[in-house]
């Protein structure tokens, strides 16, 4: 016997709310790193979850929810903002959580890292944030970005290479892998 519409709706709502509780912070932070603006990021997250609610039935497996939401978010960003607005050059200072637990040195370190991450080209920052915030594997990132795995690995490699250069410009640790074929990249 099938459930009543009211019961279906209640279950859908519970499932959606569990999804929000589990993932809204990661989705917001990823949105922020996509657009580097807190107001736009919140709008994007609202649109993303609104779409997620409307098509929740198409999510077969809750374990895939994060990748599903991140993909929706990327599409919403492309649909709503990317074509109308160039990427912001710099991030907002006020978006860094100013926890009392952080020492001034730690806060400065975060600020510098924020700037360095924010200055990465989008092609590099995007897979790096998917790996760092989303915890996705190279293969999963490749699926989300619709790229091949080697391209993703090359971009991750270069993203970290650029961050290392920003923080250790004269260090012997600096790597010089400037070739285009680092991971046999194919666009």
């Amino acid at each position: 016997m099938s459930d009543t519409p009211v019961l279906d709706d209640r279950r859908k709502k519970e499932r959606y709310e569990a999804l929000v509780d589990a993932l809204y912070q990661d989705v917001y932070r990823y949105a922020y790193w996509i657009c580097k603006n807190s107001a736009l990021a919140e709008d994007l997250v609202q649109e993303t979850f609104l779409r997620a609610w409307r098509s929740l039935d198409s999510l077969q497996n809750d374990k895939a929810a994060k990748a599903w939401l991140f993909t929706i978010l990327r599409r919403e960003n492309a649909r709503l903002y990317e074509r109308y607005r160039p990427e912001l050059v710099d991030i907002e200072d006020q978006s860094i959580a100013d926890s009392d637990e952080n020492e001034p040195d730690q806060r400065m370190d975060r600020r510098l890292l924020h700037e360095a991450i924010g200055k990465l080209e989008k092609d590099y920052r995007d897979p790096l944030m998917l790996q760092v915030i989303g915890g996705f594997s190279g293969k999963e990132i490749a699926e989300i970005l619709e790229l091949n795995n080697n391209t993703v690995m090359t971009r991750l490699f270069r993203a970290r290479g650029k961050l290392r250069q920003a923080f250790f410009p004269d260090s012997e640790l600096t790597d010089d892998f400037s070739g285009d074929d680092t991971f046999d990249e194919q666009s």
């Binding site: 519409p5 009211v6 709706d9 859908k12 709502k13 959606y16 929000v20 509780d21 809204y24 912070q25 917001y28 932070r29 922020y32 790193w33 919140e42 997250v45 609202q46 979850f49 609104l50 609610w53 409307r54 607005r85 160039p86 990427e87 912001l88 050059v89 710099d90 991030i91 907002e92 200072d93 978006s95 860094i96 959580a97 100013d98 926890s99 600020r111 890292l113 924020h114 991450i117 790096l128 944030m129 790996q131 760092v132 915030i133 190279g138 690995m153 090359t154 991750l156 490699f157 270069r158 970290r160 290479g161 961050l163 290392r164 923080f167 640790l173 790597d175 892998f177 680092t182 991971f183």
Partner: protein
């Protein structure tokens, strides 16, 4: 696994747990140290990426979507199952409310127009220009004459009136700028109390509204001025009001 392979895999994923990668790290103390340093940097990147403050109450607002969308279901009908007429009536009611609300806000003087997408692009171009020019500006030490300054400004279609306040200001840099590729602008730099104060004049379409610059280093304003724009930028600590007054009272377009 050679060093190149090891390092490229490390940079792509410092936490690669595959056996061959871990063995390669364990077999060579230099590699192990390199990887350890990389993992330390990665931990800092991770902490920084996750330190973005999530707006308070966001989860509740997102859940409210579901409540709003599912409300009709409480009566046994889904949103899509509502009769079309009823849905349109709701949209008309919402649109009417919106028009009334906007009318009240605008007539009460609370309306602050937001910069358009084109304005924001102009803003981003200005900021990009500032960062490119900063090394030259920081090294500038000249004390330019009014003639030298006006030569640059006049090439951009403007003029600074002969004014004692301008004459007594230390203007150390004046150059044309190409923020808008097809329109020659002027960029002059005054010595402020906390660093350099830049004034950029461009005879392009005025922005739709005056708005503040959003940048971690610089503060300032983009001001629609006659048939063009004035941009005033300084370090965060600088008080820019007096410079704004000085420029808006002495500058004019002559084309």
């Amino acid at each position: 696994m050679d060093d190149f392979e090891f390092r490229k895999r490390g940079l792509a994923n410092p936490n690669d747990s595959s056996d061959d990668f871990r063995s390669a790290a364990a077999a060579d103390p230099q590699r192990a140290q390199w990887l350890q340093d990389l993992q330390a940097l990665d931990a800092r990147v991770h902490a920084a990426a996750l330190s973005i403050e999530v707006p308070a109450g966001l989860a509740e607002r997102l859940k409210a979507h579901a409540s709003e969308q599912s409300a009709p279901a409480a009566t046994g009908a889904s949103v899509s199952a509502l009769p079309m007429r009823s849905r349109y009536q709701r949209y008309y009611a919402m649109a009417a409310s919106l028009v009334i609300t906007l009318g009240v806000i605008m007539s009460s003087g609370l309306w602050t127009p937001r910069p358009s997408a084109a304005d924001i692009k102009f803003h981003d171009d200005i900021i990009g220009h500032m960062y490119r020019e900063t090394p030259r500006i920081e090294n500038a030490t000249a004390d330019l004459s009014m003639e030298e300054i006006n030569q640059v400004i006049e090439a951009a279609g403007g003029h600074l009136r002969d004014d004692e306040r301008i004459k007594s200001a230390h203007i150390k840099f004046a150059n044309d700028c190409n923020v808008v590729p097809s329109i020659k602008g002027a960029h002059i730099v005054l010595e402020g109390t906390k660093g350099s104060v830049s004034v950029i004049m461009i005879h392009n379409s005025p922005v739709s509204t005056e708005f503040d610059v959003n940048d971690p280093r610089f503060q300032g304003k983009i001001i629609p001025f006659g048939q063009g724009n004035l941009v005033i930028l300084g370090e965060k600590e600088e008080s820019l009001e007096s410079y704004e007054t000085l420029i808006t009272e002495t500058f004019e377009w002559v084309i």
